[in-house]
Amino acid sequence: MSKQMISSELFLRLQAQFSPGVTIIGEHFQQALLVESEELIELLTVLKTDPNYQFNLLSNLTAVDYVEYFEVVYHLYSLPLKQSATIKTRCTNDHASVPSVTAIWPSADFQEREVYDLLGIRFTGHPNLLRILMPDDFPEHPLRKAYQFTPDGEKG
């Protein structure tokens, strides 16, 4: 599995190409490219279209609430080249918004809506950013760490 991760060499090349907005974090199966949200679309477009990468399948899109910031995680897979890569981007609580990647991979549609619904991160450019699992009029984003459900009732 780790042998099919995109090689460090390709990661280094991407880092050089997109510097300083891109850094390599972690090691082995935890290695990922951390990118500033302003450069996200450009980087992901390269990852999809460039013959060296050809990441045509967006395997997974999700996000994590780290309290001081949110981190959106993309797991990509290339069917022709049989390699995978992890890309991460961050946003603050006040401006919880990153660009939508639905124009690059339509499969991001429901996954971004789920992240918006449960974590409250807006995806700018998403064609239909509505709640998908919670009721339409639900007032909170329940997967946020600040949202705690108690037996007596909700405490947002």
Partner: protein
Amino acid sequence: MGPQHPSTHGVLQVVLELDGERVVKAIPQMGYLHRGIEKLAESRTYTQFIPYTDRLDYVSSMGNNLGYCQTIEKLMAISVPERAEYLRVIMTELNRIASHLIFMSSVAIDLGATTGMMFGFRDRERILDLFDMACGARLTYSYIRFGGVREDVPAEFIEATRQFLADFPAMLTEHHTLLSGNEILHHRLKGSGIISGQRAVETGLTGPTLRASGVDYDIRKIEPYGIYDRFSFCVPLGTVGDNWDRYMVRMEEMQQSADIIAQALDQLPPGPVMTKIPKVLKPLPGDVYHRIENPRGELGYYVVSDGSTKPYRIHVRRPSFINLQALNEICQGSLIADVVAILATLDPLMGEVDC
């Protein structure tokens, strides 16, 4: 259409916009079975979360367990004894057959063939009896655990599984005779609900639904997990990407799974079935993503650890949820009756869609 409807595979509402009887838009509305499983994960220990994985795609519980346990094993570099690896393969492939039998039964009954459904469920009972023998449960097993499986199988399990494999070709033949050879099924399924391979990949389809459109993507082959690289099996592919291909791919996969189980039984070594690991796990801080080929597609687990006994975040990449994205596109221009067939062959499981 729905959420209370016999053919929506659980509590799914599809809002149909029609022009006469032709579908202009088919928008799935989900969330009726949302149970907050990912939120619950944050207040359970890693082991306590295993029964929750059973209840995601509840007709493929072995696979759900396997995906989650392998994710944590990857994070903590936990090894699994040989015998346990083989038992895991036997269980997950038996589960694949059981899940595809449910698929076949659903296709039959959604198109009006009640007997076809009953025959599928009758044969699935044999598999549920095997699981009952092995771990005491028929549907939600929590049998696959970190470091192996919960307990070894009784001696009669091996014999009973071999007997099932011996009877299985006749069962499949009967299903093919009743359903695959049925003219009504041909008219209902062939040529409807087409999606091309390229569009399927772009929409995020995985599993038999993707392979029916001719895309060779089976995680057991391209990124073998566990010991799947030791088995010889084919990956059935479709050509047209219509409802018929989606049906036939799964029928063929059942035969392939039976072959894998036979090989696993032949190679099954003696030995322990569980590695020694601490009672309560405390992984180092970090994250991990692992995916397996579940009957409905790519099942992935993204786990973030903060070094404590409870996960900081678990996200389940649910194939049925992502596969449903294609519903609108595939239904364009279809008749309402075709929507039923398309939903049946997309094979969503609402427990997994809503999480």
